[in-house]
C-alpha cells in the first residue's frame, strides 16, 4: 500500500520541486505577459489601426477621419471600405516618384557604404584583439550619437562657408565655393555619413569569425591573394554583407531628417512626403495609406535581414 499523499508529509525538496513546476507552468506568464502585452498593444496593434484608417475618408472632426464600422439604428453593422486613398496613391504621381526616388537613393547609398565599409571592417578584423575593441568603440560611438546632431554637424562642413569650401578655396583648388547643400550630393553624403557604422558592425562580426586557415589553404594550393579573397573571404562574408546592407537600406528609404535638412526641393523622399501629408495637409487617411504601402515594400528587405541575422546569430 502506498502512503497517503499528505501535504505535510511532502519533503521540502519535493515541495520546492512542485513550486518550480508551478512557476514553469503558470508563474512564467507573470514574466512573459507584461512585455508581450505591452509590445502587442503599443507596437503591433498600431499597424492594424493604420491599416483600418487607410480605408477611411477624411472628415472635419476629431480624429480627422470617418468610421469604417458603423451601426445603423436597426442594429445592422455597416462596413465602409474606401479604396480611394490607395487609388489616389496610384494616380497622383508624387507618391510613385517619391517611392522610386527613395529606393534609388537608398540603393546607391547602400552600395557606397558597402564599398567604404567593407575594407574598414576587413581592416579592423585583421588587427589584434585589443586594437579591435578600441576601433570598434570608435565606430560605435557615432552610431549612438543623435542623427539630427550628426546631420547638423555635417551641414557645418559642406555648407557654402563651411570647412570644406574654406579649405578648398585656401588651397586654390577651386576659385568659387561649391554648392553642395540642397543638392542630391548632400543627401548622399548625409546618408553615407550617418549610416556607415551600421554597415561596418555586422560586416566586422562576420569577418572576425572567418576561419583564417581556409585562406592559408588557398595560398598553399597556389591561389594568389586576390583570388583567395574572391573565392573564400567574399562568399563567406555574404551574411554580413546582407545584414549590413539591409541595416543601411531599410532606414535610408524612410529617411526624413537628411533630405529635409540637407536636400533641396527635388529630393522628395517618401519620409518627407509622409511627414508633409501628416503635418502639412493633415490628411491622415492618405498618410496611413502611404505608410501601409511603404510597409508592404519593406516586407521583403526586412525578411531578408531577419533571415541572415538569425543565421549569423546561430553560427
Amino acid at each position: 500500500m502506498t502512503p497517503a499523499l499528505n501535504q505535510d508529509a511532502l519533503s521540502p525538496a519535493l515541495r520546492r520541486g512542485l513550486r518550480a513546476e508551478w512557476l514553469e507552468r503558470r508563474g512564467k506568464w507573470l514574466i512573459i505577459l507584461p512585455p508581450l502585452l505591452f509590445l502587442l498593444v503599443f507596437f503591433l496593434i498600431p499597424f492594424g489601426f493604420a491599416l483600418v484608417i487607410s480605408f477611411a475618408d477624411t472628415a472635419v472632426r476629431v480624429p480627422p477621419y470617418t468610421d469604417i464600422l458603423s451601426v445603423s439604428p436597426d442594429w445592422h453593422i455597416h462596413l465602409t471600405l474606401n479604396l480611394g486613398n490607395f487609388k489616389y496613391l496610384l494616380t497622383d504621381e508624387v507618391y510613385g516618384l517619391s517611392y522610386l526616388y527613395s529606393l534609388k537613393t537608398a540603393f546607391f547609398s547602400t552600395l557606397i557604404c558597402l564599398a567604404i565599409g567593407y575594407p574598414m571592417a576587413y581592416g579592423i578584423a585583421r588587427t589584434s584583439k585589443s586594437t579591435q575593441s578600441i576601433l570598434l568603440l570608435i565606430i560605435i560611438l557615432p552610431f549612438w550619437t543623435s542623427f539630427l546632431l550628426r546631420v547638423y554637424a555635417l551641414e557645418g562642413i559642406i555648407r557654402e562657408t563651411g570647412l570644406l569650401n574654406t579649405a578648398l578655396l585656401w588651397l586654390g583648388v577651386i576659385d568659387h565655393p561649391l554648392q553642395i547643400m540642397r543638392t542630391t550630393l548632400a543627401v548622399y553624403l548625409g546618408i553615407i555619413y550617418s549610416y556607415l557604422p551600421f554597415m561596418v558592425l555586422p560586416l566586422f562580426a562576420t569577418l572576425e569569425k572567418l576561419d583564417h586557415s581556409l585562406l592559408e589553404a588557398a595560398a598553399d594550393l597556389g591561389s594568389p591573394p586576390w583570388r583567395a579573397f574572391l573565392e573564400v573571404t567574399l562568399p563567406l562574408s555574404v551574411p554580413g554583407i546582407i545584414a549590413g546592407s539591409m541595416l543601411v537600406f531599410i532606414p535610408a528609404i524612410g529617411e526624413f531628417v537628411i533630405p529635409t535638412l540637407l536636400g533641396g526641393p527635388d529630393n522628395l523622399m517618401i519620409g518627407r512626403v509622409l511627414w508633409d501629408e501628416f503635418f502639412g495637409n493633415r490628411d491622415w487617411p492618405v498618410a496611413s495609406a502611404v505608410a501601409i504601402a511603404f510597409l508592404v515594400l519593406l516586407v521583403g528587405p526586412i525578411a531578408l535581414y531577419q533571415h541572415y541575422n538569425t543565421k549569423q546569430l546561430e553560427a
Binding site: 512557476l23 507596437f43 549612438w144 551641414e155
Partner: protein
Amino acid sequence: MESRISPFLISILCIGIAVLYIPILVLIGYSFNASALVSVWGGFSTSWYAELMHNDQILDAALLSLNIGLVVSTGSVILGTLAAISLVRFKMFRGRLLLTGMVNAPLVMPEIITGITQLLLFVSMLHVFGWPHRGFTTIVIAHVAFCSAYVTITVQSRLASADRSLEEAAMDLGSGPVRAFLDTTLPSIMPALASSWLLSFTLSLDDLVISSFVSGPGASTLPMVIFSKVKLGVSPDVNALASLMICLVGACVLFAGYLMRRAERQRLMDAQMAER
C-alpha cells in the same frame, strides 16, 4: 588573425574614422567661437553656453527630455529584461514567435512608420477611453516600445551565456526559483542591465521623429526644439547645445562600454579561476 595589414586597409580605415569624427569635432570647436557669424572665427568664448542657461525654451525642453529619458530607460530595462528572460528561459510558450518578432522588428522599422502608427493608436484611444493625452505619457510609451527592444537584445545574449550552476545550487539549498534567480543570476547580468539603461537613455534623449508624431501641443523635447532651429540654418547657440548633448551621450556610451568590458574581463577571470 594576421598582424600584416596592407597600407590600403590602414588608409581607408583612417579616412573612414576621420570622416566620422571631423564634423563633430568642428562643431564642438565652433561652439566656442566668440563671433555670432558661424563662418568667422572671432576668438575663444563660452558665451553661447552661458546664453543657453537663459533660454527658457531650451531649458524647458531639456528638462522634459531628461525626465522622459529617466522614465523610459527604467521602464525599458524592466520590460526588456522580462522579455529577455522569457525568450532565454522558457523555450516553449504560446506567443514565443510573436514576442521574438516584436522584439526584433523595432530595430529595423523606419521610425516614421512606427511614429505614425503609434499616433493613430493614441488618438483612437483618447477618443474611446479619454486617455492618454498626447505629451509626456505618449512619448514615454512610444520610446519604451523601441528602447525595450534594444534592452532585450543586449540582455538576451548575456543571459544565454550566464552560468546556471549557481542558480541550481541555490535552488538545491532551498531557495525558490525566483529567489535563486534574484540572488545569483541577476547580479551577473547587472552590467548588461546598467549599460542597456544608459543606451536606452541616449536613444530616448536623441529621438526626433517618433517624438514629433506622438507629442502634443506644449510638449517639445530637446531634439524637436533643435530641429525647428536647425531648419533655419546653422546658429552658434545650437552649436553649443549640440556639443553638450554629444558629450553627454558620448559619456553614457563610453561608460556603458566600460561596464560591459569590465564584466566580460571579470567573467573570463572567474572562468580561469574555476579551471584551476
